[in-house]
Point group: C2
Chain length 235, copies 2
DNA sequence: CGTGTGATTGACGCCTGTCAACGTCTGTGG
DNA sequence: CCACAGACGTTGACAGGCGTCAATCACACG
């Protein structure tokens, strides 16, 4: 248990207009503030592991987390990313199941752990908060369904283009159109659902076609229109 | 608007111990009973369509519905099935988005339509009901994530075996191990996420290997253990 | 009996996964 | 400062799974 003083109080991290916690009353905020336990994690740390019983969820103060499932012979399938302002691990609390995925740190992170009972009691007593969580869940469900359709019907090439565009939406570009997230080729492959070599080959192809530029793990999106065309943007 | 008298009142159709509605008070039950509009649908009818704005959800009194997304050149990807006791269309109500999928009748169905405001107000005021809906959503989310991993990592052969087993869990077998659901080869392909011809070939192969038996659309599961082995059951 | 939908089978070829070899970079230890 | 190990990235060769196209069959329906 690290020093909690390293982490700002909720009044700083939860006030983002995007956060689910905007629906809480001051008393409810205070409750979470009292119950939470904060911690920092280095890249590579596992926050929770598939199949384990979790007894709380995490608010992300800073950093980036990947959420993935482990499939055949240990290959990861990345399901989602979470970054500052997001929450992870709430699904299994609410469904009362074991964690259906693992969470691992991609960029050094500071997280606040909140006990599951707190979440459940808030859901039961605060209708607006409950609706907000529900909305988040339903949104994720919609995205998951879209992804199923994509992965079932699109080629690897189309999916890679789409993944690059999704990453842009999640992590933004800098002023030079450089994707503000650093992933290994293997991680990219584990999002797209393909082999590492295929990702490498297709990235080279995209680069050759002047759609993107590559600098190690830094990817520059040069021609977003063309990428959208390739990804067959029906979404 | 068909004659509502054809459809039994909630006291008959909602009492199934499985139903979400068990968490409602008698007054809340009465509210739904008053607001609902029931209807029957023939095979092939579309209940709601992807991209449309829905203003309520449906309880399934009887029949079978497929939930699917439409992908490239109109190909369906079947996301889920719903049968008696289930509810459909609630996701877009709760998330406030447009419908992300379509719902079509596979076996003649009778459904009760309940306005969205009713659902939202119940979610906001009844903590236990809210938790139950949340649990259903989270469960579906977990299943969707599993399916993403499968479809990304498994071969068509493995997925087909798995789909047959899933169908068994949803629709049961009769005393002769015949799957109690009738799907076209194309629909099977649209679950597995492959071409119709591939499904046909693999089914023949399974039949040749004495894993299943085929009689038109009736599929008999002869060797469930072997199917599980093929499906690489990690779930 | 013609028409249409669904099921089947065969031929063909490309996409993509796998295996293997090699290059690159970084950090560690001598 | 250099050597080496290890992780990651890249490229080539190769085969086979699976999608596509096309022809044929089976069956129901008006």
């Amino acid at each position: 248990m690290k020093n909690r003083d390293q982490i700002p109080g909720c009044e700083n991290c939860m006030h983002c207009a995007e956060s689910i916690f905007k629906h809480l009353s001051p008393e409810e905020h205070a409750l979470i503030e009292k119950e939470k336990v904060c911690n920092t994690y280095k890249r590579g740390s596992v926050i929770y592991h598939e199949g384990s019983r979790t007894n709380g969820f995490y608010c992300i103060n800073s950093g980036v987390i990947k959420i993935f499932k482990t499939g055949i012979d240990g290959r990861e399938q990345i399901i989602a990313f979470a970054k500052d302002g997001g929450i992870i691990g709430y699904r299994s609390i609410l469904s009362g199941e074991l964690a259906c995925s693992s969470a691992k740190v991609i960029e050094d992170a500071s997280l606040c752990f909140v006990p599951g009972e707190t979440l459940i009691s808030l859901v039961k007593t605060n209708g607006n908060f409950s609706m907000a969580i529900m909305q988040q869940t339903c949104k994720e469900l919609g995205e998951a369904n879209s992804f199923i359709t994509d992965i079932a019907q699109k080629t690897v090439r189309e999916r890679l283009a789409e993944v690059l565009l999704n990453l842009k939406d999640i992590f933004d570009l800098d002023q030079n159109n450089v994707l503000q997230i650093s992933l290994t080729r293997e991680e990219l492959a584990n999002i797209v659902g393909t082999a590492t070599e295929s990702v490498i080959r297709l990235l080279s192809e995209f680069k050759h076609d002047k759609l993107i530029d590559l600098n190690g793990r830094k990817i520059t999106l040069l021609d977003i229109k063309a990428l959208e065309k390739i990804s067959n943007a029906f979404n």
